[in-house]
């Protein structure tokens, strides 16, 4: 028997695999996405977030794996010795193209980064399913396992009215791709508040509080960690929502200032997004070793006092 010294540290072994015919090495436990990106392969992702366990729900990051009947999601598939992976084949391109088309035809992706570029790259044409339909039943009251027979003249969308039920942030689920990140951030992965969950099934699946009650009646603590992880702008600060509505939101003109939250002794990092000398939203660096991009209501939303211009009598 070989003697083993237990140090409490787990040393990750190096693994050899092939990506697009090229031999590469990776550490065990790494995902194919990490290895591909480290080796300069461009793979689109939508539902993937760097602080949440991948749900691999969007299926845009699929790659071809030798020996696998189906494509595999690179965001969550872990490397194994001897894997032969192809990142850019007819099948992967078809898959990415169709996923972009399916999402683009059913969801408002206007605030999702890189989508136009990817659509060009993969030849995706989201309008080919017909004109989007904006006439909807109340999605919050969809009946599970039932739907109205479509006539094919329009392409069904997830369009629904914007939810404005509190002063801090806005939920525009017409932009929701159902990446589950907000649910995971609100629930067991970060906040443990469980104010929202996925409700319904199939195309009617939606993010919802219990019985779709307003956030003010829910368990929401307004930490805004769901906004932090939302990749499509379905969850945004009220300030951003209003400025976009007024046409005054100019992301290119904004500066980002790193600072420390002044409210308590934890000392979370804040990134203040400033436009015209006003804080317009607050994020937190997702690579911070303590907070991983998470804040509480004070750090996230408690910034108005630094820019109140009105003086008291």
């Amino acid at each position: 028997m070989t003697a083993q010294v237990t140090t409490g540290l787990k040393v990750r072994k190096s693994i050899e695999l092939t990506i697009d015919g090229q031999k590469v090495t990776a550490l065990e436990g790494a995902t194919l996405l990490e290895v591909c990106r480290a080796n300069g392969k461009e793979i689109p992702t939508l539902c993937y977030g760097d602080t949440i366990t991948p749900k691999n729900a969007c299926r845009v990051c699929m790659v071809e794996l030798e020996g696998s009947r189906t494509l595999v999601p690179s965001c969550s598939r872990k490397v194994e010795p001897g894997m032969a992976v192809k990142t850019d084949t007819e099948r992967t391109r078809h898959s990415r193209k169709l996923v972009l088309e399916l999402l683009g035809s059913s969801v408002d992706l206007s605030l999702t980064k890189n989508v136009e570029k990817w659509n060009d790259n993969y030849g995706a044409n989201p309008t080919r399913f017909g004109a989007p339909s904006f006439h909807h039943d109340d999605r919050d009251n969809a009946v599970t396992g039932h739907h109205h027979q479509p006539d094919g003249k329009t392409a069904e969308t997830v369009h629904q009215p914007v939810k404005i039920d509190n002063v801090l942030y806005v939920r525009d689920y017409s932009k929701c791709i159902l990446c589950y990140q907000c649910v995971d951030a609100c629930g067991e992965q970060w906040q443990n508040t469980f104010a929202i969950a996925t409700a319904g099934r199939g195309f009617d699946a939606r993010i919802s509080t219990e019985f779709a009650v307003d956030l003010t009646d829910s368990a929401c603590v307004y930490c805004g960690n769901c906004i932090q992880v939302c990749p499509t702008g379905a969850l945004i600060f009220t300030s951003e929502y209003e400025m976009r509505g007024a046409g005054t939101w100019r992301e290119d003109d904004q500066t980002q200032t790193e600072t420390i939250c002044p409210f308590c002794g934890v000392g979370c990092s804040l990134t203040l997004h400033v436009q015209d000398n006003e804080i317009v939203k607050v994020t937190s660096p997702s690579d911070h070793s303590v907070t991983h991009g998470n804040l509480c209501i004070k750090g996230r939303f408690g910034f108005q006092h630094v820019q109140n211009t009105k003086t008291t009598d």
Partner: protein, 602 residues
């Protein structure tokens, strides 16, 4: 967890329904009586997390008592199980048999799926006001089928078939549902003791363990204890048995993989969520010979080292539920389950878990989530269930028919079993023959029979009928044309012919059937039953349905060419990129209709 419970509170009836399963609330913070002492105690952590698997059974209790699950009820369940209200709402709205809005206490679910609409024209849009359109209820041999659920303190569920339009109208109008009739035609070959899988159907009283024992019951179990676990796995491997649920994975390999796991806590799950349209074999087995499942599961658990088994039974099979519940209770009483079974030193018990209307829960990992109290969403694989399954432990998942095959394998030896069948398909197989045949029902054959022989076995075509198409393997399977009746029904022949046996569906559609309507129903089925987790399936099934709707109008035009290409594109992304088998097969039947039957090619 810090629960935030809104003001709505449960009615006395709702509380009593919940308490009937969980007992009276022990403490204030769990929704019990509010007193000073209780307010000074709080519990949390591990001990409460273990309560989550009680969520679905508790929701059933309320849904069965009241007819729906109100906000107050969810709040009370939330306190009892320490699960947030939003999460419970998410689970409750996942399942079609649950309802979170108020509704009448009696629900009449009318099957509008493939066999029922082909045989009787039951369609979504011409149901009487108050009836609920239902996906396949698994009584295709007696189509059309109706499931009546009369909620109340003593919930009453009856699967009635055949049901006349007049009867449906009366049920909706509030007439008390009659008792289910004993099934005369579920398996027309029976009673016949020479059959292997159906030998006891129609022979034994399904409620009597003595009858079961008198008809060779528990012989295989005794033999299994004698030859030992390793030998049982070896026999199953030798037998060449493959899974009968549709995926045809070698059972021996699955068992050996679990038996070899270093983790000793292991689970056995019997997949009885039979919901594939056109499939009703498991129902016939469970209703007619429930003790055999108990015996087969005990053998499977013994062979693979599982301490506990779950039967995940679909919620639409009330008689199977009654018979199985009796079989498990009686077996436990007679020491065929429980501690030290028949003095073998082996301990094993079974929990019956009732589904709540979700085809997707027949997916092997969705079952786990459903049992654990979550939405029945499939998990990503790997890891596979044999390593990380139910409650994160190594798990064997076997279909009902697969488990039934274990008994003759152990009774006879794997070698003798393997002598039945063809080179690539071993043993006995059940087929669910429905549609335009004289005697629809479950038929047992040795692998190797042709499609024509099966139709002949079922009494041949209905008088005056002419075959238009046969659906093999259900909605996830494929159509074959009338020129393909000599197809050998083996796994290898089906594969070579570019089709599948799936779950053993043979649905014969004659020339009176509107194929376009069947295809639209298949598309609607997958759209309704998609869990909604991944994009290819969630949106792809909708786009597929829309494209079919356009094709009805545009056949033969240039627009049709575009839509046919679109369907192929959708089919490929669903097959390539969906998380689970539902999305991966959601285009198969439609594809087969386009290519083999030339539907829409004018």
């Amino acid at each position: 967890m810090d629960l935030k419970i809104a003001s709505a509170s449960a009615s006395a009836d709702e509380r009593s329904a919940v308490d009937s399963l969980l007992g009276v609330a022990p403490e204030t913070f769990q929704g019990g009586e509010r007193n000073l002492e209780g307010l000074r105690v709080a519990r949390g952590g591990e001990s409460l997390r273990e309560l989550r698997p009680l969520l679905l059974p508790t929701l059933h209790k309320v849904n069965d008592r009241i007819g729906h699950i109100s906000r107050g009820a969810i709040n009370y369940i939330s306190q009892r199980l320490d699960v947030a209200p939003a999460e419970i709402y998410g689970v409750a709205t996942f399942y079609a048999l649950f309802e979170t809005r108020e509704r009448p206490p009696t629900q009449v679910h009318v099957c509008v799926d493939l066999a029922c609409r082909a045989m009787s024209g039951c369609k979504e849009d011409d149901l009487p006001e108050g009836a609920v359109a239902s996906p396949c209820l698994g009584a295709c041999e007696r189509a059309p089928a109706v499931l009546v659920i009369e909620t109340g303190v003593q919930v009453r569920s009856q699967l009635l078939a055949p049901a006349s339009r007049k009867q449906i109208d009366e049920l909706v109008a509030g007439k008390h549902a009659p008792d289910e009739q004993p099934i005369a035609h579920g398996a027309p070959q029976t009673p016949n003791k020479d059959l292997v899988l159906l030998s006891r159907i129609g022979v034994v009283d399904p409620l009597s363990i003595d009858d079961y024992i008198a008809n060779d019951g528990f012989n295989a179990l005794k033999k299994a204890f004698k030859i030992g676990a390793d030998q049982v796995v070896a026999e199953v491997a030798t037998s060449g048995l493959v899974g009968r649920g549709g995926a045809a994975f070698p059972t021996g390999r699955k068992w050996a993989a679990v038996a070899a796991q270093p983790i000793k806590t292991r689970y056995l799950v019997c997949n009885a969520d039979e919901s594939e349209p056109g499939t009703f074999k498991d129902r016939v087995l469970l209703e007619g010979d429930p003790f055999a499942l108990v015996e087969a599961m005990t053998i499977a658990a013994f062979a693979t080292g599982c301490q506990h088994g779950y039967i995940y039974l679909r919620g639409e099979y009330p008689r199977a539920m009654r018979n199985l519940t009796n079989a498990v209770e009686v077996s436990r009483r007679k020491n065929y389950l429980g501690e030290n079974i028949l003095n073998s030193g082996f301990n094993f018990d079974i929990t019956i878990f009732k589904g709540a209307g979700a085809y997707i829960c027949g997916e092997e990992t969705a079952i786990f989530n459903s049992i654990e109290g979550y939405r029945g969403e499939p998990r990503n694989k790997p890891p596979f269930p044999v390593e990380v399954g139910l409650f994160g432990k190594p798990t064997v998942v076997n279909n009902v028919e697969t488990l039934f095959n274990i008994l003759p394998i152990i009774d006879n030896t794997g070698e003798k079993y393997a002598a039945w069948g063809s080179t690539g398909s071993k043993g006995k197989k059940l087929f669910c023959v429905s549609g335009a045949v004289e005697k629809p029902g479950v038929y047992e054959v040795t692998f190797g029979a042709t499609l024509r022989q099966l139709i002949d076995l079922a009494g041949g075509l209905k008088r005056g009928s002419k075959i238009q198409a046969v659906l093999l393997g259900g909605a996830a399977g494929g159509f074959v044309g009338p020129q393909e009746l000599d197809l050998e029904l083996t796994l290898e022949a089906a594969q070579q012919a570019g089709t599948t046996l799936g779950s053993g569906v043979i649905m014969v559609l004659d020339e009176t059937v509107d194929m376009v309507d069947q295809l639209q129903r298949i598309a609607a089925f997958f759209r309704d039953e998609s869990c909604g987790q991944c994009v290819p399936c969630r949106v792809g099934t909708v786009r597929q349905q829309e494209a079919l709707a356009r094709l009805v109008e545009s056949t033969g035009t240039d627009r049709a060419k575009v839509d046919l290409q679109l369907l192929r594109d959708l089919g490929q992304v669903m097959r390539d990129a969906s998380i689970c088998g539902l999305g991966q097969t959601a285009h198969n039947a439609i594809d087969s209709a386009l290519t083999r039957l030339k539907v829409f090619s004018a």
